[in-house]
């Protein structure tokens, strides 16, 4: 535990408000997620597990001193001891026995009484019999001493950053009618969108949470392909999911709407320039209806293996331009090549006929072969099967009915393993 004492008064907080201890405690969360305001002029930071990020405890303390000049720091195992060390200890001192009694934050009346019997330092207090100390001076000295020594728990109010983009409604009577929930969503979205518009921001992810009276908390999550602050669009998306996802049960007593992530969205002037077509609305609707796993763009991938030439990218990413392939490619590709039995003259001729799904196709025309080798630089070399065994020879063939197929032969006809034929796609 690290205690910060602003011995020369509170510095101006990062947002410019002098003397705002809460803001300072929030600012200190750059050092550790657990910080607490310590009124009137201190901050407590739990640095357990965080010091190594700044090069150890000494590095962390140096970093804080560099940012807040004039600060007094106290480092100890407990918050109470750190408090005392920051205010009464010398730099580098970790022993509280030599500190004066005031370092325990005792009330002045008790300190005065203890001084009258010659107890001036915490070490003196530790030597006194516990039962008689309580009988003579009340529970406070022992309580504080135990806290400082880590023998009794201490309670610190760690703070968390308040959500920036959240609107909430609380109800005296729980609501459960769909029309009430829909009206609440309309009100919350309108409020949030006005705030977003003022800040020139748009939400890219939103969450609406419904706090039920039986302490269940169903929620609706929304995602947007582009930043959005259109209240009608957001409300429509929420209401579309309301019926299926939200069971109000015995009633909802509070609803919150939060923009989880936001991005800059400058305001648009309407009616000046010719309108640029905006497809954000249908894309957002589809994204929320299908989910990001079932809606994607494709980007080219640097490989010759046909099934890997396109990779999926999320639709929130900008489209990647494609170049036309050098050789014809089928419009429909099977997810996995389908094994076929083919009759073909050796060594390199296209098949004369092949059987796929128990139907025999006689071949009228064929073009090829187009030889596609494996990405050998990506694979371990295998002595038993050299790379030449792993090539594919692709043929575009047309059967007597006119259907054009994309077939390939895997391996060579006189290789270590017999060659196999596969159907991989359809041109038409």
């Amino acid at each position: 535990m690290l205690s910060l004492w602003f011995s020369q008064g509170l510095p101006p907080a990062p947002n410019g408000v002098p003397g705002d201890l809460e803001a300072l405690a929030l600012w200190c969360q750059q050092f550790s997620p657990l910080t607490a305001a310590d009124p009137p002029d201190g901050v407590m930071i739990d640095i357990t597990g965080c010091a190594h990020l700044f090069g150890g405890e000494a590095g962390l303390m140096a970093a804080i001193e560099r940012r807040l000049p004039g600060i007094r720091l106290g480092l100890a195992n407990t918050g109470q001891a750190a408090w005392g060390l920051a205010r009464y200890g010398e730099a580098g001192c970790e022993d509280i026995a030599s500190l004066p009694l005031a370092a325990l934050n005792l009330s002045p009346r008790i300190i005065k009484k203890l001084r009258q019997v010659g107890v001036r330092r915490i070490g003196d207090l530790m030597r006194l019999p516990r039962a008689e100390l309580t009988a003579g001076y009340g529970p406070e000295p022992l309580q504080k001493l135990d806290r400082a020594l880590g023998q009794s728990p201490e309670i610190l109010k760690f703070i968390s950053a308040p959500p920036e983009w959240r609107e909430a409604e609380h109800y005296a009577e729980p609501i459960f009618a769909p029309i009430q929930l829909q009206a609440a969503i309309h009100r919350l979205t309108a409020k949030l969108c006005v705030r977003l518009a003022d800040a020139q921001a748009g939400a890219t992810a939103m969450a609406a949470r419904f706090y039920r009276i039986d302490s269940e908390r169903p929620e609706i999550l929304l995602a947007f392909a582009t930043p959005c602050r259109d209240e009608f669009q957001i409300a429509k998306l929420l209401i579309e999911k309301l019926a299926g996802n939200i069971d109000p049960g015995f009633g909802v007593e509070a609803i919150t709407l939060e923009a989880c992530t936001t991005e800059k969205l400058p305001p648009v002037q309407h009616g000046m320039a010719p309108a640029v077509p905006d497809y954000a609305q249908p894309i957002n609707t589809l994204l929320n209806r299908l989910g990001s796993a079932r809606l994607w763009r494709v980007a080219p991938h640097e490989t010759h293996i046909p099934e890997y030439t396109a990779r999926r990218i999320p639709i929130t990413m900008p489209p990647v331009p494609w170049v036309k392939p050098l050789y014809p490619r089928p419009v429909r590709l099977l997810p996995r090549p389908d094994a076929i039995t083919a009759i073909a003259p050796v060594p390199d001729d296209p098949p004369v006929s092949f059987t796929w799904r128990r139907k025999t196709h006689k071949i009228a025309h064929a073009t090829g072969p187009e030889r596609i080798a494996r990405d050998w630089w990506c694979h371990e070399h295998d002595n038993a099967r050299p790379e030449i065994e792993k090539i594919r020879d692709y043929y575009a063939v047309e059967d007597t009915e006119g259907t054009r197929f994309w077939l390939f032969r895997a391996g060579l006809h006189d290789g270590a393993l017999p060659a196999h034929w596969y159907l991989h796609g359809f041109f038409g």
């Binding site: 079932r294 080219p300 396109a310 494609w322 392939p325 419009v331 590709l333 259907t403 054009r404």
Partner: protein, 188 residues
């Protein structure tokens, strides 16, 4: 809204739809809905359609497929949906969405040329079947217009050739239908 059917396994109707999409004057993003991801982006690029314009969606069933297409059309996007059946109600809704949103939608399905649920809501209905090509290296499709609003049905032959240079990898040529493929007058 247009519907393209293929009688058997194959991809003639996909190739036909891709060529039409590539030639469309509007450059709206295209939603490609299918139960299995089957459209092959390099194949689309080969036929002149930039896959960067496409958004691909995978759906569970026909209802979801047509619903997604309706959302896209209403928003002004172009859309392609692969599905197994289109009811009259669904066709009506899709046509309305396409008209309201000024979108272009294609429905691709493996179906015979005539079914019980055929409706006249779509602007055109085609069946695309493979046809034997004369020379090697070309793809010939027989596109039979089954129904068109305000015009006569007919049979067209489309030929996709491998061109010599890479700038235009394909060339479409309309071929006169042969005797075997005589236009059949059918009312839709």
């Amino acid at each position: 809204m247009h519907e393209f059917r293929a009688p058997t396994d194959g991809a003639g109707h996909i190739a036909f739809a891709v060529m039409l999409l590539a030639e469309l004057p509007i450059k709206a993003p295209i939603l490609w809905v299918s139960p299995q991801p089957s459209a092959y982006p390099p194949g689309l690029a080969w036929l002149g359609l930039d896959p960067a314009r496409c958004l691909f969606a995978q759906v569970k069933d026909d209802a979801e497929s047509l619903g997604a297409l309706e959302v896209a059309l209403r928003g002004g996007m172009a859309g392609v949906a692969e599905c197994t059946a289109v009811s009259r109600l669904a066709a009506r809704r899709l046509a309305l969405a396409a008209r309201n949103g000024n979108g272009v939608g294609f429905v691709l399905r493996y179906a015979p040329a005539f079914t019980q649920a055929d409706s006249t809501a779509f602007a055109t209905r085609w069946t695309i079947s493979p046809a034997r090509s004369e020379i090697s290296g070309t793809l010939r499709l027989q596109a039979e217009l089954l129904y068109a609003k305000g015009s006569q049905p007919g049979v067209f032959m489309v030929e996709i050739r491998e061109a010599e240079h890479a700038a235009t990898p394909y060339a479409v040529a309309l071929v006169q239908p042969g005797i075997a493929a005589r236009p059949q007058r059918r009312t839709g």
